[in-house]
Amino acid sequence: MASFKVRKTYQEINEKIKKGNVVVVNAEEMIDIVEEKGAVKAAQEIDVVTTGTFGAMCSSGALLNVGHTTPKMKISRAKLNGVPAYCGLAAVDIYIGASELPDEDPRNTVYPGEFRYGGAHVIQDLLLGKPVVMEAWAYGTDCYPRKYIKKDLVLHELRNAILLNPRNAYQNYNCAVNSTSRTIYTYMGTLKPHFGNATYSTAGQISPLMNDPYFRTIGVGTRIFLGGTQGYVAFYGTQHTSDVPRMPNGIPTEGAGTLCVIGDLKQMDARWVVAASIQGYGVSMYVGIGVPIPILNEEMARFTAVKDADIVTQIIDYGSDYPQAINRSLGTVTYRDLKNGMIRLNGKEVPVTPMASYPRALEISNILKEEIRKGRFYLGEPQATLTQLTTGERV
């Protein structure tokens, strides 16, 4: 255990939140504070740093309990506004995945496909209070005889509606370019031929896992902002790894960590869960997530002071390498350059645009800041950090 000059516990910080004297800043503000005062003084003064991210997170979906009917039914196939939901669970539990498409959707047969409506739109319609038509089929059993139903689902009438996203909030993500001679349509947006443009997709310096690169404070039970309400980190997300190359500041130079998050869909707000039709690619969902990072010691102060200039990612060719699973980087860029809107590649200037919303991410970090200051949001001490989960380190 490293010895720190500053030591705070979750309980102490929560006590301050209760008393109303907690000191909270967002991850952007923390940069200057640590620069001016140094990490030790900053850790003494600041209790919590709030982060945020708002971007397309395909690995998302909602677990719905649609309630029993008379006679009862064990649903084996269901469609919500024509979008198939997964039914391999108990009788009336179904899971609607954000990226699912209606069977009739033309997909990419008319290229590039439009993907106007999918699972994410169903979730969005539910959040907007619109009735969603469910059509469901069953084979019928002695205890669940009903074989067919068509009815409207309205969010507040559902017994349960839980947002359960297996992989969100990627720690770092590629910068995408296209080497081929035609425009390509990817989940990283439209990429013009001959390296005509580049896109990237994280909030950089204010993104949650950039501010706790070794997952010292994030784990099972960390309370977070999720879709406009309080949610939780359920576990590490799929494809999570911490075994990656890192910079001296701890920042992974590629993908790395992810979060599996969970929260009550009924409490969420359509401003923070937005359906996305990605041309030529499919349906995805923008999800807003914010994680409060407790400044338990000066190391956490240092981590949360990370700035765009100190974060790098890899330039990946989505024209040929990525689809062929060729693991090759065309170069390394900092988020400062990405955000300035221009990178250099093969001696050529390439314009850059984001795919994730920095303004919305910052807004989330500010909402979280206010909620904590007003005593409405307490820190959730993780039962096991992501590091403990993956390394088997004793909790």
Binding site: A56, G189, S284, Y286, K339, P354, A356, S357
Partner: protein
């Protein structure tokens, strides 16, 4: 001198008359064609950037009207719903004119209608589909 981007809609009857030519000849207006969807014997549409003296411009528009051409400023045809825009930036990568651009360092996505050519590339590039274009749908 004024410069305006206008959408001109021609009916089945007017599509083949030299109306735009008259704008140049009689009202001394200069124009740039930003978009033209002209179909023989069918309703057609043109997006023009028209410049000239204000009084002549107004007379030119009156002339269009008297010949059954429906006109309106381009801004009325391409709209970004500011309440629903999430400022993700996806549209800015496809916009060829820079009308949709990232305001740095805040990273807001702004829409300068004066630069828009009405190409409509942004419409399907916007994931939440908050940009609406009524150009092609109302030819």
């Amino acid at each position: 001198m004024i410069k305006k981007r206008m959408v001109l809609r021609f009916s089945k009857k007017t599509w083949n008359q030299p109306i735009v030519y008259r704008l140049v000849k009689e009202f001394d207006l200069a124009f740039n064609i930003l978009k033209a969807s002209v179909f023989p014997k069918e309703a057609s549409l043109m997006v023009l950037e028209i410049s000239g003296e204000e009084a002549e411009f107004d007379r030119g528009m009156a002339y269009l009207e008297s010949h059954g051409v429906i006109y309106e400023p381009l801004e009325a045809n391409i709209k970004k719903d500011e309440d629903r825009c999430v400022h993700c930036g996806a549209c800015a990568s496809v916009c060829p004119t820079g009308a949709l651009a990232i305001q740095r360092p805040e990273m807001y996505v702004t829409f300068d209608t004066g630069k828009c050519s009405g190409c409509e590339l942004c419409v399907k590039a916007c994931p939440p589909r908050v940009i609406t274009a009524t150009l092609s749908s109302r030819v």
